[in-house]
Amino acid sequence: MAALRARKTNNEADQPSSPVLRFGADKPLKLDAGTLLSPFQIAYQTYGTLNDAHSNAILVCHALTGDQHVASTNPVTGKPGWWEVLIGPGRIIDTNRFFVICCNVIGGCLGSTGPASINPATGKPYGLDLPVITIRDMVRAQLMLIDHFGIEKLFCVLGGSMGGMQVLQWASSYPERVFSALPIATGARHSSQNIAFHEVGRQAVMADPDWHGGKYFEHGKRPEKGLAVARMAAHITYLSEVALHRKFGRNLQDREALTFGFDADFQIESYLRHQGMTFVDRFDANSYLYMTRSMDYFDLAADHGGRLADAFAGTKTRFCLVSFTSDWLFPTEESRSVVHALNAAGASVSFVEIETDRGHDAFLLDEPELFAAINGFIASAARARGLSL
């Protein structure tokens, strides 16, 4: 089953079930690494209908291991879209009203060009021959997709975590193309601690003998153990100590007593092992390296002489930032520093911190206060944009 799914992941990387936009040699993607990526492709999903004025488009940016299947069944896992609690017909982001676009980022593994895609120069998967991709590269590619749809100005760009970084990058790089921006549980840079966790994950992948220097497909292998460990470590950072203890405590897994061995005695161990195992079924190990690296490299202030406010100078975009009290990956202070920079830039900005013990992952969950904030912000932006209710 796992092998079958693995093949499916690989297929989705090159022949996705999503619509694909292909850019030939005439339209290369300029990369921050200093090279051009060409040809390349973007796999995307859309929901709803673009209105005549092209003014009702919302771009959703996905997180580290997310994909374009934001509001429809994921073809690899068979599970509902990752933000269906928020987006869909009659939902807070109502697809009867808005045209919602979500694309797999460059460097991903669900159909947009990434390390698992076939390198046309060699006929083999890119592996580590793909240049390192940055958040700005992802956004540059998304812009080409938006141009393809003939959308002059996005009504809203939103996303959480790595998706939130893309939102900030959009607002900074293309302020005139973004009417409103909703970055959630994110920051304008990746902290040292966050880089540290990512490095642990990458080292776990690369320490797996099945990784083969990134050329595992050619050896008919996949570094599943290493990637699973990476996911286990990362997953802890998405939760909070309080929530973990409430959910698992020191409960034992299917046993009456400690076994004095190294099986998964505790429920939390069993839970993490399960998280690791299911993750490798749906995600490419090299893509994980690229995704984590893109976040590590993100530092919006550094791109503007160290002054974050300059990243948003003169912006007319309406912003709403959201953070969660128990998020220790992107603590509230990270959002607050963005808010202060936006204040200094004279921007229109709202900022809510939501009290929850569900940690970083709260942005993906059914959080009524989050939905109330998004609803209020979108409704008022829609009024300002002249979109009928």
Binding site: R318, C320, V339, H340, N343, A344, A345, G346, S348, V349, S350, F351, V352, E353, I354, E355, E369, A372, A373, N375, G376, F377, A379, S380, R383
Partner: protein, 231 residues
């Protein structure tokens, strides 16, 4: 009011009812039923202005200004609950502290900066007022007058700190740590080099006190005061 204002009386009446209906919340440092000062504040702001409301509470003033004056309004509010409620209602509000977070705003970034019934709850009123005058082309400040005769009477006759509908807290649990009188405030404005462009005093019934009255009269009978300042 020392100058006629051009606000919509019908909307303001609706607003007054809205204020009266609000229960006393944790975000306000004075009794909300007495927030008639907001009407006076709103009357000072021309349409389409850029307004920052410092201590925006549950967003009543911002909402009024957006509906009746189409202002570009922003809020800064200490209570996270107040902020979340405001954002859910589509207002542009952030959580922050008037004592520490005003420094992030650029010089003259707003036409008006409003501080209504919050000055007395700040740790450093002088610094806050200085920041308001820096950020806004004009500052509007409203505050409860500690020189009001009932306050004086409470101290003089009973020897007690006043507790009444307008100032509902006991001395030990009040968020209001820096009360001042109208005269004290005028002196502070002088110290900061601010010009008083308009001033209004409201009596215990929320009625404006006559324009022709001298300062000592305002200071004695004004329960609340609203100042329009410029520097």
């Amino acid at each position: 009011m020392r100058q006629a204002s051009a606000h919509d009386p019908e909307k303001l009446q609706t607003f007054r009812i809205a204020i009266m209906r609000q229960e006393k919340g944790p975000t306000m440092s004075v009794n909300r039923a007495q927030r008639v000062d907001l009407e006076v504040v709103a009357g000072l702001i021309p349409p389409q202005s850029r307004v920052l409301d410092v201590g925006s509470g549950d967003g009543l003033l911002l909402e009024l200004l957006q509906e009746t004056k189409q202002v570009d309004g922003r809020g800064l509010e200490l209570s996270q609950r107040g902020v979340n409620e405001c954002v859910a209602r589509g207002l542009s509000v952030i959580q922050g502290d008037a004592d520490t977070d005003l420094e992030f705003y650029p010089d003259k970034g707003f036409d008006f900066v409003v501080l209504s019934q919050t000055l007395q709850a700040t740790r450093n009123p002088k610094l806050v007022l200085d920041e308001l005058l820096r950020i806004g082309n004009r500052a509007i400040v409203s505050f409860p007058n500690f020189g009001h005769w009932r306050v004086r009477l409470s101290l003089f006759v009973q020897g007690r700190m006043p507790v009444n509908d307008d100032l509902p807290y006991s001395w030990y649990d009040t968020p209001n740590i820096h009360f001042c009188t109208i005269r004290d405030f005028v002196n502070l404005c002088d110290e900061l080099g601010a010009t008083v462009e308009k001033a209004t005093a409201l009596d215990g019934n929320g009625q404006k006190i006559g324009l022709s009255m001298p300062w000592w009269f305002w200071n004695f009978f004004g329960q609340q005061a609203v100042f329009l300042l410029k520097r």
